[in-house]
């Protein structure tokens, strides 16, 4: 991948990444800069550069969702990179649910993500899947090689795992075609990686399919640990969820009990990088998936790319997914919520008053977001 670094003269290296992201409140902890470079170390969702690198343009900087985008990314990416409408660019949207037996799997809602991945694997579109499962109540990103391993990871994890670290690691394997389940920030990082790989015709594996998850914020693992310490014992968690307003709580449930933690108690554990995130619906994924208000068995699905579209169609055609129309009220509600996240992010970036390139960039988007182009 020698060429990327040489051809992207206007970009930055580790020094700039530290200054603009890693050592600031803007870092999302997505993991895009991890496992590609020995200067960067990580534990859980904490990422840090531990030595000085003199390279003026590096992958660490180029992959990061919060750095200055290179030209190709600037032209095509939404989310934190650019404004492409309230939920980013898409081909179609709908509701869907898995045809897999629900009793056997701990799907969060409609099971669409797990099902699409299994399908992609079965059809040979991908040969491994980077998914995040729970290990002792903490998120752990792994590379799943079969249907069972994929389904084992079903269900939402509210604490952040630096998924892209595992994606970087697995993409190293020659011939690997990865499906990755990622949060919006991670989707942006993966898309930047893909764009550079295509441009450079890089050797090694490829990130082939990116399935994005809707996300309002994520908790730091340190915060999650405090939360569990305050509210939960050692019992294995089956499900974590935020019921629709006005509940205002985060529910943690095991097979035997359920605890509701007021959202205001959780605020302090949210990663600071989440407060300045424009992207609720994973605008840079192939397919984005989230909940449907009031319909627990379904997912909202936004199909964005050609590759996403063909995968989804195949899953429906083969009877793995059941597709239904998403009504206008719910769709408009989603657009509203997504826009609100963008507005909050811009406001927070202004309030922080830090002269970071990322903040300066998103503040410039304010007008377009408010005009709702």
């Amino acid at each position: 991948m020698a060429g990327i670094i040489q051809n992207s003269e206007q970009q930055g290296g580790l020094k700039e990444l530290r200054k603009e992201v890693l050592d600031t409140s803007a870092c999302t902890g997505c993991g895009s800069c991890v496992a590609i470079c020995p200067h960067v170390v990580s534990i859980e969702d904490r990422i840090a550069a531990i030595s000085d690198c003199r390279i003026s343009s590096g992958k660490c900087y180029l992959y990061c969702p919060r750095t200055l985008p290179f030209p190709e990314a600037e032209c095509s990416l939404g989310g934190d990179v650019g404004y492409r409408g309230p939920v980013g660019a898409y081909q179609e949207y709908c509701m869907a649910k898995s045809a897999f037996p629900r009793d056997e799997f701990s799907f969060q809602y409609g099971g669409v993500v797990s099902t699409l991945l299994v399908k992609a694997l079965q059809e040979g579109l991908i040969n491994c899947a980077v998914v995040t499962r729970a290990a002792a109540n903490f998120p752990l990103t792994v590379t799943a090689l079969n249907r069972e391993e994929i389904l084992e990871a079903a269900g939402s994890k509210f604490a952040l795992a630096p998924t892209n670290k595992e994606a970087n690691r697995s993409a190293d394997g020659p011939g690997n075609r990865l499906g990755v389940v990622a949060l919006p920030c991670q989707c942006t990082g993966l898309r930047k990686r893909q764009l550079l790989e295509e441009k450079e015709q890089a050797e090694g594996g490829r990130v082939t399919v990116v399935l994005g998850l809707f996300c309002t914020w994520a908790l730091s693992q340190k915060g999650w640990r405090s939360l569990l310490h305050n509210h939960w014992g050692k019992e294995s968690i089956n499900r974590v969820d935020i019921p629709p307003p006005p509940a205002g709580v985060l529910e943690i449930a095991s097979a035997r009990e359920k605890v509701a933690v007021p959202l205001k108690e959780i605020r302090e554990f949210v990663r600071p990088g989440c407060d300045v995130c424009l992207d609720m619906t994973a605008e840079n994924a192939d397919i984005s998936v989230g909940m449907v208000e009031g319909l627990k068995e379904y997912n909202t699905v936004i199909i964005r790319t050609e590759r996403g579209s063909s995968l989804f169609k195949m899953a429906v055609k083969t009877g793995c997914l059941e597709k239904t129309r998403l009504d206008d009220e719910r769709w408009n509600h989603l657009l509203e919520a997504s826009l609100n996240k963008k507005k909050r992010a811009v406001g927070n970036a202004e309030n922080r008053g830090e002269a970071l390139p990322y903040y300066e960039r998103i503040i410039k988007l304010r007008e377009r977001i408010e005009r709702r182009e």
Binding site: M1, A2, I5, Q6, I36, C37, P38, H39, V41, S42, I43, R46, I47, A48, A49, I50, S51, C53, R54, I55, G58, K59, C60, K222
Partner: protein, 642 residues
């Protein structure tokens, strides 16, 4: 070979002297420049039936040796200058007891230190404890004095001290060796003569000690270890001791002042041979002192002069107090040498400086032409490199401006580049662990930086153990990292209580984790080189937890391992230069630049990394960290396609 003249290092000569003095037990704690004394005595174990062993610290060593003396046998204890501080509690009480067998305390000072955290002059302790002190000038004299002191100690029934310095301990010279006595004494402790330092006995014993020292002084006035060289009636006298004698002789000779200057060599440094010195002061007008580190003789002679003012004429004194004897950092600082004495004499005699310049400068000029400049660095394959990498990574990830406090050992180099500049506080043996205990108590005053204390295995047993108990006892929130390389590496691979019986059959290992777990302290043992991510996470988790935690980073010293494995077929790391992409990688020469391993080089012709097969210890650290996976561990040259 009993009457042969042999070439011996000063330290070997001291050991030989003790052997000829009928020593039965030798112990000490390793520390430069003293270590080779005990090291050189291990071969005597079987041959002469001498008990030789390393102790865990200097006070234990002196106490153990005293037991031999209390039972009628002769013993020797060795240490570096810092060691005498450690054993001083016992020294300043045992000096009050009537010994039975000779007990020799050897202290080697490290002026202008090569491997010390101070340049203390140990001679003051002879005055504090009121014990006889000799200071040799040559390896021959070192041997003779060691032998004589063991006998004299037994005769006077008091501990005797021998002071050496780096150049003497490590310099070599011809030594006439003598016979080794066959002493057949059955040791026995006399129940009628208890040795107890109870308060009501102290004044009695103290009085007896001072009386003894007056008798010692009389002996010293006649001692052959003191001598005078020069005109019979001189107006200018040099009083010198130790290596100062040789420097003075050479300087006087160089300046051709042999007819004007007399040199009084003092071998008996404490108590001062007062009568002898008074005799020489009587016909002298000017005196220059030449001695290593502090103006010890200089001060004592001035006191003596003041006491005898009525009998003596006016004498002018030159030395460190007056500033004539001074090196680059001022008087009383650093090592002395012939140049310093020359310059002092040139100043006093107003002789114009001439000649080809100082030896030191000439040697430096020559060295700079012949030697490649090298940074202080951990050895290739050193486990400390991985340990400090893990410490740095964990502290940076923790993000609370945490830091490492350390102490004395190879790992002290981690205060510099080779250990990623991690150690921020470093003083004496075990001090980091005590410091950390205190740093954690600052939290109630708003201090919020995490502190990690590191100590080597040998240092842990030496002085870290009380700090560990203290931390536990006082509920400190502290992370202790014990860098256990199973050997006292810095001083030349002496055994420590962490050494396995595979290294040394005659010792019983006392693993760190057995101690800490026995104290109810959460203890994790791991090899830092095996899995660096795991090492980082272990330190990081340790930083997040309350209470006292111990991490033992265990891996045998790579240089020791390499020495032992020299005959076996060695593994080594090898760079697949087809995979290494050099400057195009984006790692910015991580292996050759950041890791700082002496075995990794950057091949400027090929613009790729290269590992020197002669030096690589196959620790595998670079193998784990290379982002291109271009470094492989290979068994033999065949597998590298040669």
């Amino acid at each position: 070979m009993n009457t042969d003249r042999v070439l011996l290092m000063g330290n070997e000569a001291i050991g030989r002297g003790a052997l000829e003095g009928g020593v039965s037990y030798c112990t000490g704690y390793p520390g430069n420049p003293s270590s080779e004394i005990i090291d050189s005595m291990f071969p005597y174990k079987e041959r002469y039936g001498v008990e030789v062993e390393w102790s865990v610290n200097e006070i234990v060593a002196l106490e153990a040796a005293a037991a031999f003396s209390f039972s009628g046998l002769r013993a020797m204890v060795t240490m570096k200058q810092n060691g005498i501080n450690v054993c001083s509690d016992f020294l300043t009480t045992a000096c009050l007891s009537e010994l039975k067998g000779g007990l020799l305390l050897v202290v080697c000072d490290d002026p202008g230190p090569l491997t010390s955290s101070n340049e203390e002059d140990s001679r003051h302790f002879a005055k504090i404890a009121q014990i006889p002190l000799l200071e040799p000038s040559t390896p021959q004299e070192a041997k003779d004095m060691a032998k004589w002191l063991l006998e004299f100690s037994e005769q006077m029934r008091v501990i005797c001290m021998l002071r050496s310095v780096s150049r003497l301990s490590h310099g070599r010279g011809g030594v006439q060796v003598g016979p080794v006595p066959r002493r057949k004494i059955k040791p026995c402790f006399d129940l009628q003569k208890p040795l107890v330092g109870l308060p009501h006995l102290v004044t009695i014993n103290h009085e007896a000690l001072l009386k003894k020292m007056r008798r010692v002084q009389e002996v010293f006035d006649e001692s052959e270890f003191n001598s005078y060289q020069g005109p019979s009636q001189t107006r200018f006298l040099i009083i010198a001791t130790g290596l100062g004698v040789l420097y003075a002789l050479e300087a006087v000779d160089t300046l051709g002042l042999g007819d004007e200057i007399g040199i009084l060599k003092i071998g008996t440094a404490w108590p001062l041979p007062a009568r002898l010195i008074r005799k020489h002061l009587r016909h002298t007008e000017r005196v220059l002192f030449v001695e290593e580190i502090d103006p010890f003789l200089e001060d004592q002679v001035k006191v003596l002069y003041a006491e005898s003012r009525d009998d003596l004429g006016k004498v002018e004194f030159f030395g460190k107090n007056t500033g004539e004897v001074r090196g680059g950092h001022g008087p009383g600082v650093g090592e002395i040498n012939t140049d310093i004495v020359l310059e002092a004499l040139q100043g006093i005699f107003r002789i114009k400086k001439s000649g080809s310049g100082s030896y030191e400068r000439l040697a430096e000029d020559l060295a700079s032409k012949m030697l490649v400049p090298r940074e202080l660095s951990f050895c290739q394959g050193c486990p400390h490199r991985a340990s400090f990498f893990a410490l740095k990574a964990a502290l940076v990830l923790d993000g609370r401006k945490g830091f490492v406090v350390g102490d004395i050992g190879c790992y002290g180099l981690a205060a510099g580049e080779t250990g990623f500049n991690q150690i921020k506080v470093l003083h004496c043996m075990g001090s980091g662990m005590g410091n950390a205990s205190g740093f954690s108590k600052l939290s109630s005053f708003g201090f919020d930086q995490p502190v990690v204390a590191v100590a080597g295995d040998s240092t842990f047993y030496h002085a870290g153990l009380p700090a560990l108990v203290n931390a536990k006892f006082n509920n400190a929130d502290t992370l202790f990292v014990i860098l256990d390389n199973a050997i006292t590496a810095m001083t030349g691979f002496q055994v420590s209580p962490s050494s396995s019986t595979e290294l040394e059959e005659s010792v019983t290992p006392v693993p760190v984790e057995d101690i800490s777990r026995g104290m109810g302290i959460k203890t994790t043992v791991l090899d830092p080189l095996e899995d660096i991510q795991k090492a980082i996470e272990t330190v990081y988790n340790g930083l997040q937890e309350k209470g006292v935690k111990v991490i033992v980073f265990r891996r045998l010293c790579s240089t020791y391992e390499q020495k032992k494995a020299a005959e076996r077929q060695r593994q080594r790391a090898w760079v697949d230069q087809d995979k290494c992409v050099g400057e195009s990688c984006g790692c910015d020469r991580f292996c050759s630049r950041v890791l700082g391993c002496p075995a990794i080089e950057y091949d400027r012709d090929k613009e790729k990394a290269y590992i020197n097969e002669d030096t690589c210890n196959a620790c595998g650290f670079c193998v784990q960290l290379c982002p291109r996976k271009a470094i492989l561990l290979v068994e033999s040259e065949k597998e590298m396609g040669r």
